[in-house]
């Protein structure tokens, strides 16, 4: 398993427009990788992996780890999925953008999040529902390594494995923030339940794209190793 890569400066392989939009949300031109653990993954996902056309049968992305959504908003704006002007108004009484995203305020957001451990079970239902509806859509869900503490995820990991939900892709952003850790690694827990797994480092966009595009007869896990939180 690749180890974390320390805390490199953010921005390698990312477009200037994205970094500019991120600054609009955060009001801060200086970006530490440790503060934006999801940025690389979200960019690769929206730029290279998600199929959003036609919209009715689009791939779905569920941001389960809803805290710190600046990267998410910046990526959505850069991809033209929300007006860039909305980035300047964060968490005010009339803002569309809050500290946790609300799908009823922000149309490209598939699932409102905030409380941990809800996205993966919903994504399992979405994947099963897409299957029943005969739609080609894949479902990606992003969770944090600390978020995996919530037991609800483990109900969903078992279900997805048993149901062989090949269209489901779970991304765990591992910034080593789980207080009690995951001895033996995160991927092992999914593999035991029948998932295919890949470990990548956040800065390797080619590897990220390959991992996130992988689909087979089993659900797929991508563990993305990023700079440790607070490093």
């Amino acid at each position: 398993m690749p180890s974390s890569t320390g805390s490199p400066p953010l921005g390698q392989g990312l477009p200037e427009a994205l970094l500019h939009n991120l600054a609009r949300v955060t009001g801060d031109e200086k970006h530490e990788a440790a503060a934006h653990s999801t940025l690389d993954t979200l960019w690769v996902l929206y730029e290279h992996v998600l199929r959003l056309d036609p919209w009715e049968s689009r791939d779905r992305f569920v941001l389960s780890k809803g805290h710190g959504p600046a990267s998410y908003y910046a990526v959505l704006a850069t991809r033209g999925l929300l007006p860039e002007s909305w980035l300047d108004d964060l968490a005010g009484p009339d803002s569309r953008l809050g500290h946790h995203p609300d799908r009823t305020l922000l149309p490209p957001v598939e699932v409102s999040s905030g409380s941990l451990g809800h996205g993966l079970p919903i994504a399992v239902g979405l994947a099963r529902g897409m299957e029943l509806a005969g739609l080609p859509s894949r479902v990606h869900v992003l969770v944090g390594d600390a978020e995996l503490d919530e037991g609800s995820n483990h109900e969903a990991i078992a279900l997805a494995g048993r149901w062989a939900l090949g269209r489901l892709s779970c991304i765990v952003i591992d910034n080593c923030s789980a207080t009690l850790g995951w001895p033996g690694g995160i991927a092992a827990r999914f593999a035991l339940e029948g998932w295919d797994t890949t470990d990548v480092v956040s800065a390797d966009h080619d590897a990220l794209r390959r991992a996130l595009s992988t689909s087979g007869s089993a659900p797929h896990l991508t563990v993305v190793h990023t700079a440790p939180k607070g490093s």
Binding site: I122, V124, G125, L126, R128, G129, L132, S152, E155, L159
Partner: protein, 290 residues
Amino acid sequence: MRERFYATMADLLQTDATTALVLADIGPLDLAAGTPAAARVINVGIREQAMMGVASGLALAGLRPVVHTYAPFLVERAYEQIKLDLTHQDVGTVLVSIGASFDAASEGRTHQSPADVALLSALPGWTLHTPGHPDEVEALVRAAARTRDRQYIRLSTQVNPEPVPADGSIHVLRPGGATLLLAIGPTVAAAQEASADLDVTLACTATPFPLDRSTLRQLADQHDRVVVVEPYLEATTAPEVVAALRGRPSDVEYVGVGRAEQRRYGTPSDHARLHGLDAAGIRGRLLRDV
């Protein structure tokens, strides 16, 4: 009620390709076995959090999920999932419980759910039904399958001898004198027996949330006193009654399930007696004997 619910679901699963039934190891696991609809009977095992998450995902994918298990495991075990995965996402779902307040008297407190209606009534956008007859169950389930909103249907082994129209309205069963006795769902039979020889108006509804406020207001104007008999935690219906009677001086009393744990086994009728929800208990409250 349970059998009628299963029969109704079996029909809906065959006739409507968007209907899905989500179960957690309790209920009709093989309802559509051997038919193409079997794929839409989804058993998650003993995983109530995932049951609600999966229902949310199914709804987001355009299906109409009906989620069914024992009342405390359906409503209380994964309440945050009901609050966030269904309500906050603003997706539609039908929750159908069995067990009610004390159908499982002999099983003990773990299988009893007197607070289910109170808990769901705290969340926006839910219509809460407490049918008192299998005919009402079928009407409610069929109507719920045709919409895309959030509904709760609370099944019970407490059954009234006759059905009432399960149309969301308050219906007067017997006009009478100064007191209005409003019986919710399966309490109608006991309320009828309690008041048979008394000069009271007996009315009922299968849908306490939202309550038929205009009819209640109208009836209250013709009576000095209102007694509400509820099959769940006492005074759960109060916010709806207050809203209906706003600004009107009213003498309102609630007869429902007490908060205290009984710590007794026995039968549902034993528990109805212990909570004062049998005919004698209701009559005592009507006559102000107790």
